[in-house]
Amino acid sequence: MNEKDIMLQLHSLRNIEPDSQWKANNRQILLSQVSVFEPESLNWMEKIFSSSFFDFIVQPVGLVGLILFLLASGAGASFFASRDTKPGDSLYIAKLLGERTRSSLTFNEARQTKLSLEFASNRAKEITQVLAESNGSEEEKKAQVDKLADNFQDELRVVKNKIGAFTPTQTHVAKHTLVQAVSKNASTTNKDIKVAEKEIKKEGDEVFGATSGRDNSGTQVSEGQSDPKKVIEEAEKLFDKKDYDGAANKLDEVNELIDKVTAQGEMTETASTSK
């Protein structure tokens, strides 16, 4: 007889059961015996810790929360430690992973653009760090710089694709000025708002000066230093001239411009909804 046959026979032994009458009688006896017992009352803490809710909900949820907290704190710790690293450092990979994570967890267009600018700026700064490094051969440094330069261009491409949504337009400026005009007078009526709108058109020209183009369709107004696209172009030129720090500074400037524009947009939204 082989092992398989033995197994089959062993399994068949599961059909052996106690006598059903005996089972029922025994159940009754047991029930009467345990019914005699009166459970002592538990205090509130004992009730909580011995409840099914605690066993099946609180404990597992608490465990998952603890794991997430440890992961997040570990990730946070390595993120902060890796901020100033460059290619070749042990924590550099943590820096890149942190950037990818932040990017994938950001859904707002403005913030994504800002992140791409930050990453591009990081690549430019890392090039400076790599070139300043005394260790490593020239060939290795060149390979690292080339790779960083490619990443820089990739990030800038993303920024340029998205930046159109955040360029200040005549409409933006008009709305901003309208809000300021309205907020000066708490009892502003609709009539007052229409009067203010007429003034805005005049002010819009004055804000942007001689280089502004009055385009009634509300398309992009090109304006000196306040145009992020222009600043990006300047950053690229500096980068090509190998002025990496200069390029990084320009990108930081673009980030500030986006902050201003988005702040203006939020203010106008708040004003329009409150009216």
């Binding site: 007889m1 092992e3 033995i6 197994m7 026979q9 062993l10 399994h11 068949s12 032994l13 599961r14 059909n15 052996i16 059961e17 106690p18 006598d19 005996w22 089972k23 025994n26 159940r27 006896i29 047991l30 029930l31 015996q33 345990v34 019914s35 017992f37 459970p39 538990l42 009730k47 011995s50 409840s51 099914s52 066993d55 099946f56």
Partner: protein, 186 residues
Amino acid sequence: MTTFKEKKIYSKLKQKDKDAFIEFYDLYVDRIYRFVYFKIGNKEEAEDLVSLIFLKTWNHLLENKLTDVKTLRALVYRIARNAIIDHYRKNLSQNNVSLDDNEDIDVADLSYVNLIRDIDSSIDRQEIEKRLLELKDEYREIIIFKFIEEFSVSEIAEIIGKPRGTVRVLMHRALKALRGLYEEKI
């Protein structure tokens, strides 16, 4: 593997819930009966012992906070094993047989062999039951847990209080010994 139902009952038993205990009885009485039956080989004695085991389990629940075992299964089988050992000691002391050598501690009870004729089973099944009785107690226990009740290695390890590696070795040896018994008879 411990089911959700068992975990729920175990959780209620920590609060000494009587209804949960009766549910637990309904869930385990067949298994405990089979375990005891294959160990001691006598139907009436098995029934008495099973009643005792459940009462002992209830007493254990009253006196302890159930922190010593992870599952209900481990608890009741540990109590069952201890009850069987006590039963052996009582019977063997009555029959004046030494307990020191546990090689063949459980000799087949003739009444059990006769009883098999009353059970509606095939010749093969009778055969396997006989062989099971001839096995060393330790091996028989493993065979019951693993191949009849289909417990996992971890569960068996918790019940018998031995490491999982030891359980696997015992499983292998038990099956080999059982196969050996078959080959001897040919």
